[in-house]
Amino acid sequence: MEFFSQLFITGILVGSIYALVALGWTLIYKCSGVLNLAMGELTLIGAYVCLSFYNWGIPFILALIFTLGVGFALGLLTEHLFLRPMVGEPVLSVIMVTVGLSFFFKGVVELIWGTDTVVFTPMVFPMEPIFIGKIVVGQVYLWAFVASIILLLAFVTFFKYTKWGLSMQATADDEMAALSLGVNAKIVYALAWAIAFMAAGVGGTLLGNINGLNISVGYLGLLVLPAVVLGGLNSVPGAIVGGLVIGVIQNLADGYLSRYTPGGVKEVFPFAVMVIVLLFKPYGLWGWVRIERV
């Protein structure tokens, strides 16, 4: 039981990071209908940018805030250069543009920062674990959890109470109606990408703090895909729950199944779960069921 709750808690803590990145993903999909496969590389860019700031001697919190700023700018730029011309094109083309972007970003990241694993030195979070009852939790995980929750709350508040957040919700709900009420769809799309970049950047930074930073952090960013599929593509609460569930499932699989296999269960299990979910519940937990007509 102890073992289980240990795995469970760690899963929740890591899952909160996935939830944050998944939120950014869902946002893009809801607002502009773009299925973004470059999410892993967005996390990568954010993490490396933050690391560079940190290495210049900027305090971590400030570096994180700067990363948010850079993410915002990059998001606006990406949307303007690559996604704006694709409005109204077939879904596959748009997906493949994001795939192209993912290759491009990955290549650029590897060119600039190389492929070796780098760590945040000096350590941002102290090494000593914290004991909750009998459960041991690394401080990194705890702080990552806190940071993700703060950002999640901030984003949710933004959607609920600000003008731009409300117009994003309106566009997501019915683009035509929103346009007729004077919502500027261009700004909404740009904002969605900016927020996704910001969320992914923070997520990447936190993931990079846990295990060190290399290209495989981009793979962790890909884990948002099972998360959003589980929650349903166009549901923000679904993305958050999906992220948490994927975190927990991944950790449980690692704890219980990896002794029966040579390894690699942790990486594959979320995808296997995703396939099974798709077979039985094709639209996820809270996704909109699409009724198709000729």
Partner: protein, 364 residues
Amino acid sequence: MGYRPCGVYHQYYSQDHAWWQTKFVWGKMILLFITIFYLFPKFAGLYYISVANVIGYTILSAMGVQLLIGYCGQVTLGHSAFLAVGAYTCTLLMLQLHLPYPIAMILGGIAGGLWCVLFGLPSARVKGFYLIMTTMAAQFITVEFLITQYVSQIGGRGVAFSIPPGTVKIGPWVIQSDREVYYVMLALVLICILMLSNLLRSKIGRAWIAIRDNDIAAEALGVNIVLYKLLAFFVAGFFGGIAGAFWVSSLAAVSPEHFHFGWSLWLVGVILIGGTGSIHGIIFGAMFMTLIPEGLKALIFLLTQNPFLVELMPFLPLLLEKFLFVKEAVFGLSIALFLIFEPNGISYRWWQIKNYFNLWPFSY
């Protein structure tokens, strides 16, 4: 087949169905065949032949992707999983059971096809993005997990299966040098293109195209959607398996790194740049995607030879050193730009150019 020059009248259906309908096309094709079968291998250096082999491999691998995406509308982002299944089946059959290469290759193709059907099963229920997710899962489950962790253990050879020289042979011929691989490649590419294009003009191909254009309408017209989708997955996986088994012949060792996720995406990029829904598209896309990076590499290499330019741009030697990443970035950028500025791909341009000359001097 559309266009025919004036003055050519057909009297039999067989003339209408012929691939090469006029003397001019016959002449053109014979010239092409002489070039690829005789002139090119005779006069080209080993480097060019190895580049041609890579192009051929890309064509073979992209064929299944083109079938699924371009003709049946089922997006696949995990095709190198099926390549890997084909390659590993073929290698294992040769190494463990000592089957001859052609039989192992065909069995590898069938294994790839069946494995592809397994991951195509969700296509009965889901489509679009959700299907993309399942094919992606196929990539991770097959290559990163099953093959890396389990299949590689068979026979205790370590992660990479090294292929002793002389294993790959067709009858008495040992396939070893690039030149021999080149001929195998040519034969396979021709056979596969013939199979694919003949399938596409049969009932099966028409059903696939109907599913691509509107699956609900196709179902209403009596096309058994699930059956034909699964058939498309099987044929695509079969081509993938053949491609993987072919590539075994030019590898010293088969290892999971040859079939990573990036290669799956690369294949989709190939057909998007070449043009979806066109067999020419596969060939043009494969040539573009292979020749552009090679050309770029040669260009950077030439530039680094010039000390003045290196002084002007001190990052040049670094670019050569990290060329893999430059290639990745250029590939990504070219996919994005192609989709934005030339969404119909190269084959559409080719068609336009051909039409221009066919209709010359009148533009209508």
